[in-house]
């Protein structure tokens, strides 16, 4: 999964972002626009206010940027603090006419972590919006800022047969090469192992019960 992020302060706007290996190919990349609204009421009654718009271009790469519509006013700030004191929820919803997704986080967390906010959008390979998640990374700016992070499907794992066969063939070739060099007889090459094996056998054949050990100690937590 390749995700790139960029910080976008509420005042400015910027582009970004993600590319993935096997996304669909489009001649003209479709563009999606979603409205973003937020709500942070101490009494938990939703009252969503426009926050901005997200534009996303879906092509070989997914580009997206966040367009804020309004400043975060002092009044809003007070409301957010009030909400945090009541252990209320800071909600975000992203929608257009065909889809609506939303998520929430604790207002307290947002304030404690310095008001930085990352909107993680989950976008399907066909460019549809699946979900949103609010991250609150720790920041020391103490100033409201929103960042966009676009996340699409990870490449699916496939059995690595090609590499494995390649490796096997290399090994075979190496063995063939190695085989030519070493022309000693079997016994002259491995006499020490054979002697060791014989000694071990002689030691162990004395006790016939030794063979049926039930195999202990394989544990080890992971």
């Amino acid at each position: 999964m390749i995700t790139l992020t960029i910080f976008v302060s509420l005042l400015s706007c910027a582009t970004l972002i993600s590319s993935f290996d096997d996304g669909p190919y489009y001649d003209v990349p479709p563009t999606y626009v979603w409205d973003v609204e937020h709500s942070f009421e101490p009494n938990n009654v939703d009252s969503f206010k426009p926050k901005g718009k997200i534009n996303v271009k879906v092509g070989q790469k997914i580009h997206g940027f966040f367009n804020p519509v309004d400043k975060f006013s002092d009044h809003d700030m007070k409301l957010l603090k009030k909400c945090a004191d009541a252990d209320g929820w800071y909600k975000i919803r992203v929608f257009n006419e065909s889809v609506q997704v939303f998520s929430q986080t604790r207002a307290r967390l947002l304030i404690e972590n310095g008001l930085a906010e990352v909107l993680k959008l989950k976008i399907s390979n066909s460019g549809r919006l699946n979900g949103v998640f609010i991250k609150t990374p720790r920041s020391s700016l103490n100033e409201f800022r929103t960042t966009l992070e676009i996340d699409s499907s990870a490449p699916a794992p496939v059995p690595d047969t090609h590499l494995y066969i390649q490796k096997m063939e290399e090994e075979k070739a190496q063995r063939a090469k190695g085989g030519e060099k070493d022309t000693r007889s079997f016994f002259s090459k491995y006499w020490m192992f054979i002697v060791a094996a014989v000694v071990v056998m002689m030691v162990f054949t004395n006790d016939p019960n030794q063979g049926q050990a039930a195999g202990g100690g394989g544990g080890g937590g992971k």
Binding site: L109, R128, A156, D160, G221
Partner: protein, 1232 residues
Amino acid sequence: MASALEVKVHPLVLFNIVDSYERRSEDPKRVIGTLLGIVDKNVVEITNCFTVPHNESADEVAVDIEYAKGMFDLYKRVTPWETVVGWYSTGNEVTAHSRLIHEYYSLECKQPIHITVDTSLKNNRMNIQGYIGSAVGISGKAQGVIFTPLDIDIVAQDAERVAFHTISQAKSLPRKVVSVRSDMEQVAKASEQIETMLEKVEDYVDKVTKKELEANPKVGRSLLELINSVPKLSAEEFDTIVNSNMKDLLMVVYLANLTKTQLMLKEKLIHCLYEDQVGKFDWRQQYIGKVQFAAFNQAGQFGKKVIVGSEENVIAALTVKNGELSWRQILENDDRLDTVLHLETAVVAISGGGKFVRAFTINQGFLLWEVNLQSEPEGTATGVIYGGRSEKVAVLANNRVWSVDTSTGRVQWTKTLTPLKSKFQKLINTDSSVTVLRIPSSGDTDVISYSTDGSRVAENTIKNPWMKTDSLECITVTTNVVCLESEKSRLYLLNAAKPHSYKEIVLSASTCSKNLNALFETRESLGSLFGFKKSSGSGMALIKIDGDKTKELFYSDNIVATSITKLNNELIIATATVENQEIKIRFFEYETGNEITSLQMSDIWPSYRKYPNELRVLAFKKKDGTTSVRVFIISDDLSLSMFIKNGGITWTREEALSNILSVEMVDLPVSQIQAEMEDEFGSSGYNLASMFVKRLITQLHQFGTWILHISAKLSKTSGSNSGRAELINDPDYLTRDDFNLHKMIVATTASMKLFGIDNLSGQILWQISITNAEVFDHSGKIALPLYIQRTTAHFPHPPVATVVARHATKAQSIFMTFNPITGEIQGSNDGVLMNYVPIQITQLQFVQEDYIAPLVIIDSSKMVHVYPTEGKNVVKEHANNLFTYTVDTTTNILNGYVIMQEDSYLVAAPSWRVDLMKNEQNITNIVAKRSIGTNYYLRYQEIPFSYMFTVSFLEHVHSQGVVLGDRSVMYKYLNPNLFAVTTSGVDQQGKSFISVYLIDGVTGNVVYSTTHKSALGPVQIVHSENWIAYVYYSVKNRQKRSEVAVVEIFEGKEQNNATAFSSFSVNYQPMFMTQAYIFSGHVSAMAVTVTEKGITNKEVIMALPTGSILALPKMLLDPRRPLVPTAESQEEGVLPYIPELPKLFEAMVNYNQSVYRVKGIHTAPAGLESTSLVLTYGLDLFYTRLMPSKMYDVLKEDFDYFFISAVVTGMIVVSVVTQKFSSRKALSRAWK
């Protein structure tokens, strides 16, 4: 006549004769014996012989006739087709005694052959001469026998010839030893021979052409013939033919060798369980499913059987004696069994709407034949046996009729019927013909009859409206069709043999007043009897068809099922009634309707059995003149019982267990001694003195119980062979054992029955039926969730379990609370009715004061309920911190909720939404992991919107990270709120795909998602700790194969929050490690082992459709397996990457105990950390213990306690003694 006789002797016979001559005892000069063989018209083929001891003196001959008879009987057993054809003797002449012996043999067979074999080798030849004896004398009185010589041919079968050649080779060898040549040597030798022969021919031809030798026209002709017989081929062509033949041969040899090796390997590996351990830790139970067809069969040579066919497309034979499966055939899963027909020696099964018609032998269940009638069937098929003695099977499906010969399975004829408005739906055996009927509720009724050769015998159309009704319910009663019209006041009767004599019968007022509204057909097709019953409960009138009239035999309010059978060529009717937990079977005469009181029988019928649904009766007179009756009962709870006169119900099969929906393994309560001990610690508020007194009292009490216990044990061991049944009656049996290996399996089934099963023996200890309830059904996925609300750990509070079901008719739900150990229901037997239908049920991890973990239920109007209601306070306490979610598979929208308190109400406020785009894909699986305790969420239990998971205990994760080879730690991403969703769909290019999503249930954060292109479901997925593993079917690039993908999630080298995980503060990007493996074979269910503390390695358990259960170490599914092993990976013990997962035979945990159609696997921890208990369920049940890391926490059985304690005591003694010495030495040194 005699001269026309042809005698063929096999070399084996001659060898036998020579051998017996060589081994004769000193005394007799010759050996005689019996010749065995086959007589076919004028050909006598002698295939075997044996010596008969005899004694000859000058004037008499004595033959051991008893011996000859005995030997012949023995030979008869081995080769039943051989008969006595004559006798032989050694020597070259027919002696005077021969006549006497010949006379004896002419009693044994019609025209005995006599053969003499000259073992004295006169003229250096072993002369073989045959004779046939014919009596001579004056008419009416035979005086003697003339032995007429016969010519004898020596014939040999291929095998004999080869053996003979091999043996004859030894003749010239000094040691007379020869070994059988291998195939290749044979070929080489034969080629060599051909070569020499060719050389000879060449030499001859050369000589002839050079005129050195005179041409022999005979040789020339045969040479020409030879050359003509070889097709003209170019050398290369010939080469290729020979080579390809050779290749084929080599391939066969290779494959044969491979199979042999495989078998040898299997033999070695499969015995990794010691033979005496088989069945010790595991058990299997085989089931049939919901039985639809049943009939007694007495013809089988291995005792009486009941042949049954079930809704699950399974055919089986049950032995009448004990109800065990005599044989079972599991047919296709996706087809339904339409009809089962019973022939004399075979069972014919029609399944899949006439897709397959198969015949199985009754004795063994072997497939006799199979025929595919139509590949794309529609609707159901009906079948009937017709044709009188010639027994043919007629099948009607989708407006076509087939006639199948029952001995060969050949389709004799097919007729396509004109498809008018409605289908032909009835098929009736009318003696030597078969009749099809179309009875639409409006329109003409058509009746067509065909004879056995397929010719149309009769065709009748009965003009509408002979019936005045809108809807019809029709049954077949022998050759009659009886229809009931919708107002239930009139019956219509039509005899298929005489269709124009149709009749309308207005039911009498007394019949109408009984509220009877359904017809009941007896399946035996004996007598023209049918039942007319209430659609539910009991009450049935029995009605007899007499010509074109009907006669009500009798009516009873209690009858629930009826059947008809033959006893001494008289028909008798059996009825079943159930009252006050007692079942009564009563018998009535068919002709008069009078009761036969002598046959009446009754037994206890527990209420959980509900009502008997169908009966099959077998009645016969025993040798002593008494009547024996066997009644096979199919009940509403799917159980099958055998009721024997004077024996009561001898066995019962619980077929409900073939469809288990949820399983829990519940700990047994601790024994009384231990419980009292814990009671002592648990109580508080006593002062010191009273505590002391109490302690003394309990210890005295404990001592007393201990003494009792010991004495009971001693008396039991003296009685020694106490079976398991006795054990279960023992009150101490259902107590926890040392390692908590003994548990109670609680299972809910689709037939609304709950079972308590002993996990050690597999015995059913209790059962409960829920009435008026049904399972939650959401687009074919059914569920009956089970929650363990209080475990056994809270003595003296009994354990509590709850099952939630839907009300059968109303928009309500039923909560049934019971004790999972004893099966006692709390409160009413009908459960608690709630006025809502849950869409989501979650079991809380927090407990109320009485240790009950309440259920939190969200209903369809998003209201929050708590069960039991006292649990509300606990929920309120944690409000705003409890989260849950629902998955709507019809819209693919996932909604998260937070439970909040508004005034005094609890509400589920939406907290997140994820939209998985219904127009692109369908949700196929939702799997949460067995959760780990944190305070932030509810455990997820889903009801109809998706699936249900039963999560009832916490999975412990022992280690927070993985220690890498370089001694650094990679921390696992242990998000307890994570759940996996799999979807399947078709993309814009028309290729199918499957997707996997990992979603956080608290925030709706899609943590991970991936899409496998060109892949198909069904996807099986396991989700545990920090990983998921799933199986899908890949169709990429023509490589069609199953693949297993693994995703492991790590936080990285630093841990974010070591103490508690919060879904809201996940601000880092977790690492995803993925890998895929090829798996040879499909997987029908998947699970992962769990252990008490999570220290033991895990195994992924896969049930394969072939019947095996495979336990793969999780280590093999590690995504970090490196292609090229490095020193670090070796240090850590990660296996090198191999794309294919091994399917080891020793990993098949059910060895030869195959289980089919596995739907789920339940794993539970035992008290022993190394052990995980596994129950697989589906059509069959299989229970076993798994020890993924072997039994590392148990001492071996042969552990030498004495030695160890001796060493320890020795050490202590030595250390005490040496201490003394050393202190003395130190003292003396100090004085110096």
